[in-house]
Amino acid sequence: MTIEFFAGRYPYILIAVLLGIGLYGMTMKRNLLKKIIGMTIFQTAIYLFFIQGANKSGATIPVFTEELGTEPTAYMNPLPQVIVLTAIVVGVAITGVALSLLLLTYKRYGSLDEEVILQRMRESA
């Protein structure tokens, strides 16, 4: 029972673990760069969720061919993959902005450690 449960669902369990690691990194890590890494893992887990959800064994790319005809089970669903492409673009933009904010913060406070930055903010205020 338990083995069957895991065997059928292991990609989703893996995705859940990745989501957890990502969220942990974003919220618990003090280093700002590690927060960005956590954010990237979190986003990647979401992309994997879409890809796994759309996965269909025995199907081919969604380009019409004569021999397969209009049989829907013979083709992959392209929509989740398009969603993932869009989400990757959004994710890259967010990471870019996050890195530039990180650079600005580092230039001003000389540290990437959240606690140290807060300390220096209080000192300069």
Binding site: L19, L23, M26, T27, L32, K35, M39, F42, Q43, I46, F49, F50, G53, L79, P80, I83, T86, A87, V90, A93, I94, V97, A98, L101, L102, L104, T105, R108, Y109, I117, M121, S124, A125
Partner: protein, 506 residues
């Protein structure tokens, strides 16, 4: 006329692009283009609203000619018309106000401010207009990215506060996207109208329940729903006045709008109230947020920080309207979106004007401003009265409808919370008002020296006096808006909002 839904965000996107290109040559040209885009989209939004009200029909536009549910459609219905008009109006007012303030507070950053504002407005109006749950995510992140850029050009602590906001925002967007995934894999469509036809058959489906929960958590993070509000005070305190006065009024409200849209138009009736206790949860969290925000606002010394805590409380009124989930309560919540946008926008505009004229941002240093800039301070008094909820200002009516809604629902604790928070608002606003209209015993500049720090930021450009016309006119328009929306609130309700809450059966 059918192009109106697509035209509003497109005009703003175009303005953002052209404004950046022109702005690299001449700041002035960049500003004029962004402003022209804002005005054009405001005019289109008003035309669209009139069309929707007179015909009683939503205007639908299929993007790229792809017929929904295969393609993405943009829908201008009563609720979307209400929101886009508000968004573009605030945008125009802030764009008029922006140049003087931004040149003083963040010199050299003006070129990038105007395109960012246009992009923010494009993202927010796209969120309200789209009829596709994934497209909503894309516009959500467009708006968020523009907001990060705007907020980070602020004071010294700006980038760090914005970084923390970005992490929270990314988590919020991620949860929402995950919810969209669950929804798509169970219902097989992303179109809102299509979803509302399919979902009633899936009422007991656990994947759909997970989807609803994840989407609301994601939007709740973006909306700063208590206790997910913790990023807000730091961000608003360090933001340039221009960014705060465009982001504070509308950004969190549009996320609240997205929750209302899911609640009313996407998920089947009873799903958010009975199948999953989402509205009740939002209501209780909001009740906590109202008290928390109002109490913390009392102790703040920085004017902008006080406004930020007050925003935590005020956005929760909208959440309370969702929580009541009866027509009159939700009308109160929806009306509070516009009311609070006008009041809080006005207050942040005033804080920017005060900063430009005197360099003051802390409440104890605001002593005697009633003498030196009396008209601006009258506008402040109007905003303060509205925040407390004194008739005939706008703030009174939304609280009145919320109270009636609470009575109808028999939610006496929420009733008490609304009353208590009005009293608390009175405490923190009268504290400021008293300081402003008190006789200037000591010169504000002297107090600033005693406090020490932030000298380079607080050097006044002018000796105290009324702000320049480009800043005072927006303040006056917003102050007039606070009173007019209050007096004519029944027009808004009968023309737009009654239709919006019709699904609840009112």
């Amino acid at each position: 006329m059918s192009q109106i839904p697509a035209l509003i965000p497109t005009l703003l996107l175009l303005a953002a692009l052209l404004s950046l290109l022109a702005g690299l040559r001449s700041q002035r040209a960049g500003h004029i283009i962004a402003l022209a885009g804002g005005v054009a989209s405001f005019v289109v939004a008003v035309l669209g609203m009139l069309e929707v009200v007179s015909s009683g029909q939503a205007i639908r536009y299929a993007m790229g000619g792809w017929i929904p549910p295969i393609g993405i459609e943009f829908v201008l219905d009563h609720l979307a018309a209400y929101m886009t008009t508000l968004i573009t109006f605030i945008g125009v007012v802030v764009l008029v106000y922006a140049p003087r303030s931004i040149r003083f507070e963040s010199p050299g950053k003006a070129t990038f401010t105007y395109p960012s504002i246009a992009l923010l407005l494009a993202g927010l109006s796209g969120m309200t207009l789209t009829g596709d749950v994934f497209n909503l995510y894309v516009f959500l992140e467009i708006a968020a990215l523009a907001a990060y850029a705007l907020l980070a050009i602020g004071d010294k602590g700006g980038p760090f506060a914005t970084f923390r906001y970005l992490i929270i925002g990314a988590a919020g967007g991620g949860f929402y996207l995950l919810g969209v995934g669950f929804l798509y894999f169970s219902a097989g469509t992303l179109n809102m109208a299509d979803l509302s036809a399919i979902l009633p058959e899936l009422m007991e489906n656990r994947a759909v329940m997970t989807a609803a929960a994840l989407m609301v958590i994601g939007l709740g993070l973006k909306m700063a729903l208590f206790p997910m509000h913790f990023w807000m005070p730091d961000v608003y305190t360090n933001a340039p006045s221009v960014a705060a006065s465009v982001i504070a009024p509308i950004m969190t409200k549009v996320s609240a709008y997205a929750i209302i849209r899911l609640f009313l138009d996407v998920f089947p009736q009873g799903f958010f109230t009975e199948t999953l206790p989402i509205t009740a949860t939002i209501g209780w969290l909001s009740a906590g947020g109202i008290l928390y925000g109002s109490i913390l606002a009392i102790g703040q010394q920085d004017f902008r920080r006080m406004l930020a805590y007050s925003s935590v409380g005020q956005i929760a009124y909208v959440g309370l309207g969702i929580g009541l989930a009866n027509p009159i309560g939700l009308i109160g919540g929806l009306l509070h979106i516009v009311n609070h946008a006008l009041m809080k926008g006005l207050l942040f505009l005033i804080s920017g004007a005060v900063r430009l004229q005197t360099g003051v941002t802390r409440i104890p240093e605001m002593k005697g401003l009633g003498k030196s800039m009396p008209w601006t301070m009258y506008a402040f008094a109007i905003a303060a009265l509205a925040m407390v909820g004194i008739p005939p200002t706008a703030g009174f009516f939304s609280k009145l409808y919320l109270l009636i809604g609470a009575v109808e629902a028999g939610a006496w604790i929420w009733f008490a919370v609304i009353i208590a928070s009005s009293l608390l608002s009175a405490v923190y606003f009268f504290r400021v008002t008293e300081m402003i209209f008190r006789d200037p015993g000591s010169d504000p500049a002297e107090t600033a020296k005693e406090e020490g720090g932030e000298k380079e930021h607080t050097t006044p450009e002018h000796p105290a006096g009324e702000p320049p016309a480009s800043m005072f006119i927006p303040i006056a328009i917003m102050a007039a808006g606070v009173i007019l929306v209050g007096v004519f609130n029944f027009v808004i309700i009968s023309a737009l909002l009654e239709r919006v809450v019709a699904p609840l059966g009112g």
